[in-house]
Symmetry: C2
């Protein structure tokens, strides 16, 4: 602490991201990245842009990328906002739609960045307990004073809430913004984007970091009614005119244009997930029903923290949260089939099976 | 305005960046970019990184880049912060060091993003009038209540304040942070970085967008005492874990490593600036003594707004600010010799010389 720190710095409790270890022989299943590289068309687009005008500012409006994303969902550029990863988009959303003095609601077990934003921007919050089976207690989100933010599928639980339940929450908060954080939606069932033309208070946030294999490029986006998008643009233009660099803009655009590659890699991950679920169950793990690119799992007899540490010694990184209610669970990213085999091999050794 | 907008959105008055027109035949002298492309070593570094792990998150700490920048200035990584352009670094600095209720000070003629940040974060401010000759009234910055932010060289005036004056301001605000925004310092005399080890309240902000030819890549940085840098890291880690993508991280690092290229292009721009000054004076312009990569100039008889519009019709973009005190000035970026020739040719036509 220093006398120069503002009250804002003093009240922060920063987020701690999963470890980023760059080591060839490590099996990295701790930060829910895609195990497959981005589409070759992404690389080609960046390649081409690289030789052009890197000395000039990028487009401050990012209109082309917003149009391309909009096309995927039947939306116009005015209904799409883009930012430096969905984390930046979420930060801007907290600034744009939530208010000091008015408590917002999110699940007690959820993306641990939400309370971090809330503290930063001095927004009070209620952590709504999940049901015992980690599903969403839908009614408890009705008539919130300050708004709602929910991931769907939820993280780290991997559980998807049916769209009709999401719609109930949106409908029962007519004067507040409901943010649906769909980082993992492409591995799940229906997106809430189809509610956008029906409700003016729903904001759907997505990312290219998971299903589009672009965690290294930092491109997230939000979709909603034009008046919500306009608010995000006002915040962005009061903060940083150009949040996406030239290479990220063209790379993300190319990723959305290569639908085939996206379908192929997404289906591969879903197939691996289902196999992984079965195998883990054979090793006496309980596995929550995942609709994400990770599983949330607890062993019937061996403590999660022990498994986390032993796996780490063996070069397999998974994520462990030392948090009440989930401190006997591991969150494990769905990797390639080979990575999952390595995981299972090591787990079998550790469990002495 | 929508009922869903927070009080923060409502009070914003967003910044309007200079036009970004992507047209081959245009002479773009309106946003102070470098007319030369980045070093070939930057391109090579990005090229190499592109084939590697774009699907994985970048380093959240950016330690390698911070070390590389630190080396240039005899500082450690703990004394360097990096962000998504100096605009993001400035936004984080407003959050980290300035306080609602405590007025900060900046010049009345300066970078027009400062009042935008102040409004966003609800920080009161005093606009300290520049002297008649656009120099800094040093004493008027002493004993500020909430802190000071100043560009040096100033923008859009291009005028550099001697380091001893900057030091006076730092020394006379012992309990407040003084931010020196050195976006253009590489075209000027001494940087305030040499004050960092002497004073714990000075933060020096720089960018790769001007002298390093990387406006399109979005990399800015701040240097200061470790306790100031720690505050910026806390804010960033409460906002967005990964603000710099993989390509920007390696590209910026390579730019700092190619000292020769940097020296050569910077010296070329300074030489062109001096020629441009002389030529403009021959066309009856008054030109302020520039230590930046742009000039600030007023014609002795023809209004600036007229010249701005006529130049635009002729495909030459410069920047005009319709603001009291400077509404008869043009801010013109120093381009290549060829671009400056085109500018002079068009000006000669317009002035009917």
């Amino acid at each position: 602490m220093s006398k120069f720190w503002s009250s804002m710095v003093k009240r922060t409790e920063p987020y701690v991201p999963g470890e980023q270890i760059e080591q060839k022989d490590i099996v990295k299943l701790n930060t829910n990245e895609n195990p497959y590289p981005p589409s070759p068309k992404v690389i080609a687009a960046i390649q081409q842009e690289m030789g052009r005008n890197l000395q000039l500012y990028p487009s401050p409006t990012a209109t082309e990328l917003r149009e391309t994303i909009g096309l995927q969902y039947g939306l116009t550029a005015e209904e799409v906002f883009v930012g430096n990863g969905s984390d930046e988009v979420l930060a801007f959303s907290f600034m744009a739609f939530f208010e000091p003095g008015k408590p917002i609601r999110f699940p007690d077990v959820t993306y641990s960045f939400y309370p971090v934003y809330a503290k930063l921007f001095d927004i009070p919050y209620e952590e709504v307990p999940l049901n015992k089976d980690f599903t969403l207690p839908v009614d408890n989100y009705f008539q919130s004073e300050g708004g709602v933010i929910l991931p769907n599928p939820n993280a780290p639980t991997s559980i998807y809430a049916e769209l009709e339940h999401i719609e109930e929450i949106v409908k029962n908060n007519p004067d507040q913004v409901v943010i649906i954080d769909e980082a993992y939606i492409d591995f799940a069932s229906k997106s809430a984007t189809e509610l956008i033309r029906k409700y003016d208070n729903v904001l759907v946030v997505q990312t290219t970091s998971k299903s589009r294999s672009l965690a290294g490029l930092r491109v997230g986006f939000a979709m909603g009614a034009p008046s919500l998008i306009a608010a995000l643009i006002r915040i962005k233009d009061s903060f940083n005119s150009y949040t996406l660099d030239r290479l990220a803009l063209v790379g993300a655009k190319a990723a959305f244009e290569d639908e085939d590659y996206f379908e192929k890699t997404t289906q591969k991950i879903i197939a691996t997930r289902e196999k992984m679920n079965e195998t883990l169950q054979q090793l006496n793990f309980n596995v929550l029903p995942s609709q994400a690119n990770f599983v949330f799992t607890s062993h019937q007899t061996v403590p999660a923290e022990f498994l986390y540490n032993e796996l780490k010694k063996e070069g397999v990184l998974v994520r462990y949260f030392n948090k009440p209610g989930i401190d006997n669970y591991l969150r494990i990213t769905v990797g390639t089939d080979e990575q999952v085999e390595r995981l299972v091999e090591k787990l079998t050794d550790i469990l002495n099976l």
